[in-house]
């Protein structure tokens, strides 16, 4: 009997030849990712009696959630983290302005095929875009890894999603992810390892695949994975920090659940307030007034996402009374967007462009809505209160739809703009 990706990748570091779903393994991750919550983890680490971290090379620490610091309290938080990084001699530290942890981990060649990334952030499954096993954990668990270098994991069952056919115009991986989350529900992949297969996935760019592995968190997945291929290896050729050994699932592996999707049947989708699985076709919610559009986040803040929005905004103006906030996911993306003229397109249209980071995604700063306002966003969550006030509504969409809606002042299909 063949093995899934999760079974193989968790067997290797646990020192076992084979493991099966339900087994508990104790593993040491290659990467332990944390962000602004590192300050709180330092406190837990000290309460555990920790003095020196188990392995400074294992850490990847990013300041992105409230970066640059919006308040003195946040600044103090950042200072604690910088002091800790310095004192412990942690080499992989990325200060404010570098970008969102999940994107930067990939750019810096730290998310590698066949390796294990545990992060104190729920979107850590994102790392699966490079063929890594990425799973979110809690802060105490992160502190425990810092202290003793290992953590227990339950070997998950797997869900195989195969996407074949051809994606229609204006349909993006965001729409595919929303469609699946809407169909399966927010717990549709609870505890599962989600593997993405099929010609549509193989044809996608790494940036597009990242939207899928990122959004798997919203169906409850433990991790999410795309098999590394020539595109992955080419991207890593001058980025990977060390040698790696990819892990591929066997073709005769056993899956708890199999889902087959014909990409040709998809259309642009919107997640409506206040849950990510409250998904409707764009046509059903078109016309809903929006006060603010937000293009960015680890889900859809990459160069291709910015390009798609810039194409819509080029030569157009935002609707009077509608704001648009653009936040590139990383400084590398920001620089490339400047070179390609996208930033100019955004500014000419009347949008504002801010420094890389999570921004208003979880209500910290850089453009939170007022009570009663409606935001259309390329983010991954639209929970009540997510952007700061529970009296506002968030609709999730792909970048082109988000930009088109900012131009029209209401939720709009890009092909219906003048």
């Amino acid at each position: 009997m063949g093995q899934t990706f999760a079974e193989k990748v968790l067997a290797r570091p646990s020192g076992k030849r084979q493991v099966k779903p339900g087994d508990i393994v104790e593993i040491s991750p290659q990467i332990a990712l944390s962000h602004d919550n590192t300050a709180a983890i330092v406190g837990i680490f000290q309460r555990m009696g920790g003095k020196k971290v188990f392995n400074p090379q294992m850490h990847a620490i990013f300041l992105d959630h409230a970066a640059p610091a919006p308040t003195t309290k946040h600044a103090e938080n950042h200072r604690i983290i910088r002091d800790f990084v310095c004192e412990q001699g942690i080499p992989h530290f990325f200060d404010v302005g570098r970008g969102i942890c999940h994107q930067v981990l990939v750019e810096e060649g730290l998310a590698l095929p066949g390796e294990i990334v545990l992060g104190s952030d729920s979107h850590t499954p994102h790392a699966g875009v490079m063929g890594a096993f990425g799973a979110g954990i809690g802060r105490s668990e992160m502190a425990s890894i810092w202290a003793v270098g290992t953590l227990w994991l339950r070997v998950p069952e797997s869900l195989k999603i195969t996407v074949t056919g051809k994606m229609p115009a204006w349909v993006t991986p965001k729409d595919l992810a929303l469609k699946i989350i809407g169909d399966l529900g927010a717990d549709g992949a609870l505890y599962l390892s989600v593997e993405w297969h099929g010609n549509v996935i193989a044809d996608m760019s790494l940036s597009e695949r990242a939207t899928l592995t990122n959004m798997a968190a919203e169906m409850g997945a433990k991790n999410s994975y795309v098999s590394p291929d020539d595109k992955t290896l080419a991207y890593l050729s001058n980025r990977a920090r060390h040698d790696f050994e990819p892990v591929l699932p066997d073709s005769d592996a056993s899956y708890l659940q199999v889902l087959e999707i014909d990409a040709g049947s998809l259309e642009p989708m919107i997640a409506c307030p206040h849950t990510v699985d409250n998904v409707k076709p764009l046509s059903e919610v078109a016309g809903t007034k929006v006060d603010q559009a937000f293009l960015g986040t680890c889900t859809n803040g990459r160069l291709e996402d910015l390009a798609s929005a810039a194409e819509i905004l080029s030569g157009r103006k935002l609707s009077p009374g509608t704001r648009m906030i653009v936040i590139p996911a990383s400084s590398e993306i920001f620089q490339e967007a400047l070179r390609k003229g996208y930033v100019e397109d955004f500014l000419n249209a009347g949008a504002l462009v801010e420094s890389p980071g999570c921004g208003p995604c979880m209500g910290n700063h850089l453009g939170v809505p007022a009570p009663g306002e409606v935001t259309i966003s390329t983010a991954n969550r639209n929970f009540q209160g997510r952007m700061g006030t529970k009296e506002s509504e968030i609709y999730l969409a792909n970048p082109a739809v988000t930009a088109a809606s900012a131009v029209a002042g209401k939720i709009t299909h890009p092909n219906s703009l003048d």
Binding site: S120, Y191, K390
Partner: protein, 166 residues
Amino acid sequence: MEIIRGRSWKYGDNVNTDVIFPGKYTYTVSEPTDMPAHALEDLDPNFARGVKPGDIIVAGKNWGCGSSREQAVTCLKEGGLGAIIAESFARIYYRNCLNAALPVLICPEAVQAIHDGEQIEIDLDKGEIRTNKGIYTFNPLPEVVREIFDAGGLIAHTKKRLEALD
């Protein structure tokens, strides 16, 4: 282990961490003792005012979905909550509870049977939930998890491991 006894606070499916402990407080409210005041703030304002030690949350599917924030567990644990019974839990939330030594029980039958406000009782050793409608059983924790739980949570457990290394 003691018996957990208290009133039930019943909620629905997919209650997420943003309504259990709002994201806007994650970097501003950092003292555990300050957290219970914001527990379930955006879902049920009566909860933080009314919850008593030993009370039990009874929830539908996927309780605790969303972010990995532990404050969504701490705000309940610090407020004296005795346990959570649900049809299912989001996985990080489930781990966070075990690591905080807050009992989390998966028992869809009990969830169906229990009414909001009803007095219920949990016997962890026997694996029983006692309700007005009858007694429901749940699976015991895996051994490695029980060890963390018995140590009083992951912090105490890791502390012991570190001391053993010295």
